[in-house]
Amino acid sequence: MNRETELGVQAWMDGELPPTEAASVATLATSDPQAAALLAELKHTRAALAGNELERAVPASREFYWSRIQRELERLENQPAAPRRPVWLSWWMRFLAPAAIVAVLALVLFTPTFAPSSAHRTVHPAEIESPLDDVSVLTFRSEAERMTVVWVNFQ
């Protein structure tokens, strides 16, 4: 059997052959031992696979899995829609943009000098949310050990 014939047998089994070709392949599949053996193997494989895909569960809790989706949806919803550029903006872009860009460059170059130093900011963790009623939380900071502790108490 050549390759074309083998693929024909497969296509016939899958119901993908046009009627004009299907009849001749059907005859071959029943009369030729090689074709018949190949067909049997293909059928066995197809039957083995049918409905026998291994089931899998998401390796994360419902809340965990959903939290990321939710965050992304909220981020997308909070994104402002890009407005159409008005005519005056085109004019501005053409004539004033170079000057504006130079000004922006200057700001970028010199801003770090004027930015408040972060070295002296107070360091305190901020509690945000505790969604469970049966969980209480105690937060404290040890200056000496330079450590912030969040103690979670399941009641």
Partner: protein, 170 residues
């Protein structure tokens, strides 16, 4: 051999060509500078260690490592347990604004997010339930401070679990 452009050609360039060229060059410079600034912000590399606090001796079975001596000293000064064993240690790299999950055990998962330049947001999931969210200052972590989540071990009376977060050293 360089050719000197004529005055007419220069005028043509001025009106037709130089503005876009100037804008383009300026944008490249701005982008380069912004990129450099962004590269400085970059990724946040954290270390997360799940620790078992107990008064018992190290069990023979299981692969429990001793906790780093410096960290153990800190915990000993605050908490009452004699021994602290590492159950799992993981390194995680956080890109800005992207949350990543970290499974430390079947009962303990974290979701970490480099929320902005100042803070990392930490969500604790205990036994599959979202338990707590809190923020930690990044500058504090970068200064060597530790963020510790802890609680009683529900399975073993009188023991405790700890998750210690710190900035990974290069």
């Amino acid at each position: 051999m360089t050719t000197v452009p004529s005055r007419k050609a220069l005028r043509g360039l001025a009106t037709k060509g130089w503005l876009p060229a100037c804008v383009f060059l300026a944008c490249c410079c701005a982008a380069g500078l912004a990129g450099a600034a962004q590269a400085q912000a970059g990724e946040l590399n954290l270390n997360a260690v799940l620790i078992w606090g107990t008064d018992e001796a190290k069990p023979k079975e299981g692969s429990y490592k001793e906790l780093d001596a410096k960290v153990k000293k800190k915990l000993c000064r605050i908490f009452r347990w004699k021994n602290y064993f590492v159950i799992k240690e993981e390194k995680i790299s956080l890109a800005p604004k992207i949350a990543k999950r970290l499974k430390l055990s079947s009962k303990c998962e974290l979701e970490l997010k480099y929320a902005d330049d100042d803070t990392v947001e930490i969500k604790l999931f205990g036994e599959g339930r979202w338990t707590k969210t809190f923020k930690q200052r990044i500058d504090a972590l970068k200064n060597g401070e530790l963020a510790v989540l802890a609680g009683d071990d529900k399975d073993k009376y009188d023991d405790a679990w700890f998750v210690v977060l710190s900035v990974s050293l290069p």
